[in-house]
């Protein structure tokens, strides 16, 4: 026990001070941020960044341009949309105006040219010219502003008083809520999706990364031949356990550092958190299941990876064995979309009860929905039994192959080893 502790300490110290640990600890949050929050951020960023649009108003309706400015949220009219509208002061036929302004649009001085034809108020026909009209997202704002403008104009024409307009234009307020009647704040589903996704990715990455690390630690010992001296001191089981426990502790350390970073950044004050982010689903149960599935999932895969390490003398050797194991880890992540859409569907239930998929699959279901408690408990029980069986098998493989320095065994030899008496 003493020696196990010594090995864990030593391995832990070496890994935590390694360059790769420091770099990955700092880079991973950025990476997760980039792939989860990034796209959303980019989408809002591009629509809110400034656009300048030249408007050619041929309707002859006084005050129309100012109204449009107001509705679209032009900063010049006290709005905050970032869309700047400019009224084209010159005259002439539309086609010649278009030709004249084309260079300015092409070189980006204007983002587009909006032409409201003479019959705009009747037909609603408007044309937006841009250098590359495909895939423009921010023009949606102009389109809906024109919609509103037209609607207001038509209602005013039909004698609806100005002060009633706002009430008439009020849209439906649609929301989803749990049937249990618990208070679900607006945006709860979205924040649950985003934060849940971060946790799922974290779980998956930690199981994979640190599982592979325990494999690498074993291969390092074998490749440097130091393993023989180690085995003169401790049993293979203790050596293997030491590697696995140390890698897990390194993972937990990293997780804690990330936690501190997140709390440090977000904890600066609620101001950092957008108002609509709802953290109420981060219950004790969720954290507990995260911990349980991390520990069991990690033990399952780390023992597999460590056994692979014991059979190989180089990372290249390890690849053929690593592949199928890695696929087992990845499958649940590939099914993420399906499970999120239907967390209690047949597919989700079946996969979450297959022990090798349980850790990530069941956690997805818990993070994204509320699976029946019995399913959670059964899956944990099955997983725990599998972990124990796997530890037995991988421990045997480890003991049998840790001192073989020749070629990595074939799959058939592996099966023979598993079947052989020790």
């Amino acid at each position: 026990m003493n020696k196990l502790w010594l090995i864990v300490q030593q391995e832990y110290r070496v890994r935590v001070r390694s360059r790769s640990f420091i770099i990955s600890t700092l880079l991973a949050p950025l990476f997760i941020l980039a792939i989860t929050v990034g796209p959303a951020l980019l989408a809002t960023r591009s629509s809110s960044s400034d656009h300048v649009v030249m408007v050619v108003d041929e309707t002859g309706q006084p005050g129309l341009f100012e109204k449009l400015q107001h509705i679209v949220g032009d900063p010049a009219a006290g709005g905050s949309s970032g869309i700047h509208l400019l009224l084209y002061g010159g005259g002439g036929p539309v086609d010649s105006v278009r030709v004249r302004l084309a260079p300015a649009v092409e070189d980006g001085r204007y983002d587009g040219l909006l032409v409201l034809g003479p019959d705009f108020l009747d037909s609603g026909k408007a044309v937006f010219y841009a250098s590359d009209p495909s895939g423009l997202m921010w023009t949606d704002a102009i389109e809906s502003a024109l919609d509103e403008l037209l609607l207001r104009h038509r209602m005013a024409q039909r004698g609806v008083p100005e002060e009633d307009l706002a009430a008439l234009m009020d849209k439906v307020h649609f929301r989803t809520a749990p049937i249990t009647g618990e208070a679900e704040r607006e945006g709860a589903m979205e924040s649950r999706l985003v934060i849940g996704m971060v946790l799922i990715l974290l779980l998956y990455m930690m199981i994979l990364t640190y599982g592979v690390q325990s494999m690498n630690a074993v291969i390092e010992d074998k490749a440097s031949r130091v393993v023989e001296v180690m085995l003169a001191n401790v049993t293979p089981t203790i050596l293997m356990s030491g590697k696995i426990v140390a890698a897990a502790l390194v993972g937990i350390t990293q997780f804690v550092i990330w936690g501190v970073l997140v709390v440090g950044v977000l904890g600066r004050g609620p101001a950092m958190l957008p108002a609509e982010v709802d953290l109420s689903f981060l219950t004790f149960g969720l954290w507990a299941s995260f911990t349980i599935f991390f520990i069991l999932g990690y033990l399952l895969f780390a023992s597999l990876y460590a056994a692979i390490g014991s059979m190989c003398n180089s990372m290249q050797d390890a690849q053929q064995f690593q592949m199928p194991v890695t696929i087992l880890v990845i499958v649940p992540v590939l099914l993420l979309q399906v499970v999120i859409q239907d967390p209690n569907g047949t597919l989700a239930v079946v996969f979450s009860l297959i022990p090798v998929f349980t850790p990530i699959m069941m956690f997805i279901r818990i993070a994204m929905g509320s699976p029946p408690l019995w399913q959670v408990l059964v899956s944990i029980a099955l997983l725990a039994v599998t972990v124990a069986l796997m530890a037995k098998l991988t421990g045997k493989l480890f003991r049998l192959s840790i001192l073989s320095f020749g070629k990595a065994p074939s799959w058939r030899q592996v099966l023979e080893m598993l079947r052989s008496p020790e």
């Binding site: 440097s224 130091v226 001191n233």
Partner: protein, 337 residues
């Protein structure tokens, strides 16, 4: 005899290969015991069983009178043939780790690391990563790792390979010190000269079986003098005609004469004196390397000289053996002139 280590009918196989096939061995406390044998003879498997890395399929190993267990291995130091250091650790850290794995407390471990590095003139390398060292230095670090916990038994598998003469000398000095302090050294090699110089006991293993073991001087004693170097005025045919002479060869101005089992140097000398003038007469026991070759070739069969009488008398490795011949001259050289 007070054995620190005993092997009783130890067997171990790997699949269909019987690596060690019923070995008995007593290692006296305070001895320097050489484990000798050709490649693949079962030396490493035997050593690994002594270190509890492999468990015997059959038989038992006793350490200090009790069945070998994990606690006993704390009292055995090991330098494996396949050298290895923790690449990511500094020299000092690696050694400290090795000491602590054997149960040396942290402070004491640090103190000893300093001492030993000093002795091996590696003190300035304590903070270097182990993989920044030269091969020879790495080997010295490994050696320190094997002895730093001051184990009662030190198992050294080919400890000298790759070392320069100065460091070989240093290692031998330390091995002698270990013996002086009443501790035991188990020493595996296939370089017979080293074994002859260092060991007081040897164990010869071949194809998993013990061929020979015991005190080195007794083993050598058991081998009759069977070869005589002589200088004098003789005809080859006359020498050949002498009783018990099997082979005669001329080597410069020297004759080499091999005797059969019944022959003795005294009786040969008597015959020679009758024949003519004897300028030099030197009888020698076979060197360990020759014993080794004979035993291995004969696989422990009787009649040691059998292998020599047929073919070329000086056999394999003859030239090398000459250098370490344990010579016991009958009469003093020149005294017979």
């Amino acid at each position: 005899m007070d054995p620190i280590l005993q092997l009783r009918g130890v067997r171990r196989s790997f699949g269909r290969i019987q690596a060690v096939d019923g070995v008995d061995l007593d290692v006296p406390r305070g001895s320097i015991y050489g484990i000798l044998g050709p490649n693949g003879a079962g030396k490493t498997t035997t050593i690994r069983m002594i270190l509890n890395i492999y468990t015997p399929d059959e038989g038992e190993i006793l350490f200090d009178g009790r069945r070998l267990d994990r606690r006993a291995t704390d009292r055995i130091g090991y330098l494996p043939e396949e050298r290895g250091l923790y690449k990511r650790l500094k020299v000092g850290e690696h050694l400290e780790y090795m000491a602590r794995l054997k149960g040396v407390p942290a402070g004491e471990a640090r103190r000893r690391v300093g001492q030993w590095l000093e002795r091996f003139e590696l003190a300035d390398r304590a903070m270097a990563k182990t993989n920044e060292l030269s091969k020879g230095m790495q080997q010295k670090v490994q050696f320190i790792g094997a002895i730093i916990a001051e184990p009662e038994v030190v198992v050294l598998d080919e400890p000298f390979s790759g070392l320069d003469p100065i460091n070989v000398e240093l290692l031998r000095e330390i091995i002698a010190e270990i013996q002086d302090s009443g501790r035991t050294v188990l020493f595996s090699t296939h370089v017979m000269e080293q074994a002859e110089q260092i060991c007081d006991h040897i164990f010869l293993i071949h194809q998993g079986r013990k061929v020979l073991d015991g005190r080195l001087d007794e083993i050598v004693q058991d081998y009759p003098v069977d070869k005589v170097r002589l200088v004098g005025d003789f005809q080859e045919s006359a020498l050949r005609a002498l009783p018990h002479v099997t082979t005669v060869r001329r080597d410069g101005n020297e004759w080499k004469v091999w005797l059969d089992e019944e022959g003795s140097p005294q009786q040969l000398l008597t015959e020679l004196v009758k024949l003519g003038r004897v300028d030099l007469f030197s009888a020698s026991r076979p060197p360990l390397s020759e014993i080794f070759i004979r035993e291995v070739k004969g696989s422990g069969a009787a009649s040691p000289p059998a292998g020599m009488s047929g073919g070329g008398p000086d056999g394999a490795g003859g030239g090398r053996m000459e250098t370490t011949e344990s010579t016991s001259s009958i009469g003093r050289e020149g005294g017979m002139r």
